[in-house]
């Protein structure tokens, strides 16, 4: 697998817009919020992140990951009613 560079979360959001992304965190602010990381997986379905996440945490027990949707959390025209 090709090693990805360390990128800011903003850059990852820009490149993988409207996709789910899994990031291995490499840099944090003073409150512990992730600022930069290495892209591990991405895809339009949430399921695309699950196996890569399990594998990464198996390989590196102290790793921290950030998984998020790089776009609107609720699609335009959708109203949440849980």
């Amino acid at each position: 697998m090709q090693t990805q560079p360390v990128q800011t979360l903003e850059a990852i959001e820009r490149i993988y817009h409207d996709q789910w992304v899994l990031v291995k965190e490499t840099e944090w602010d003073k409150r512990g919020n992730p600022l930069k990381g290495i892209l591990i997986a991405h895809g339009t379905e949430r399921d695309a992140l699950t196996e890569p996440c399990i594998q990464l945490h198996d390989q590196e027990t102290d790793v921290k990951t950030y998984a998020f949707f790089a776009g609107d959390i609720v699609p335009e025209g959708t109203v949440v009613l849980l």
Binding site: R46, A67, V74
Partner: protein, 131 residues
């Protein structure tokens, strides 16, 4: 009287909709949760439960959930910790539920977390205040 320090958590909110905030589970998993004071238990998605290797086959118990759309059983498991901003709750029980695909979050931050704090919503600033 003791005044607890307020922690202001910057979240996201689009088109005057729901408020989401970043959360950290078991000190390793940063994920986005929807803040939902209408749900008694904090909820995590099936995918996140698998990623964290939570033991769904031997939950603490099954609990009946009644939502606007369904009545169903869901497993209850215990996290080591759930942290929002600098506020951390240890040994929090959570429900594991299949969340709607159109809702791009990994969980719902429910009352069993929020009740530990005085909670203020600042919707215009997309901010959750915990004190």
């Amino acid at each position: 009287m003791t005044r607890r320090r307020a922690d202001r958590i910057q979240g996201q909110r689009k088109r005057k909709g729901v408020l989401t905030v970043p959360c950290q589970l078991n000190d390793k998993y940063h994920r986005t949760f929807l803040v939902d004071s209408g749900v008694a238990f904090t909820v995590i998605s099936q995918q996140l439960a698998r990623e964290m290797k939570l033991d769904i086959t031997h939950p603490l118990r099954q609990i009946q959930i009644a939502s606007a759309h369904q009545v169903a059983q869901a497993p209850v498991v215990r996290l080591d910790s759930l942290q929002v901003g600098d506020k951390k709750v240890n040994h929090l029980e959570v429900l594991i539920v299949d969340l709607p695909v159109a809702l791009r979050v990994d969980g719902l931050l429910g009352v069993n977390f929020l009740e530990k704090y005085r909670v203020t919503f600042e919707f215009e600033q997309a901010t959750l205040v915990l004190r």
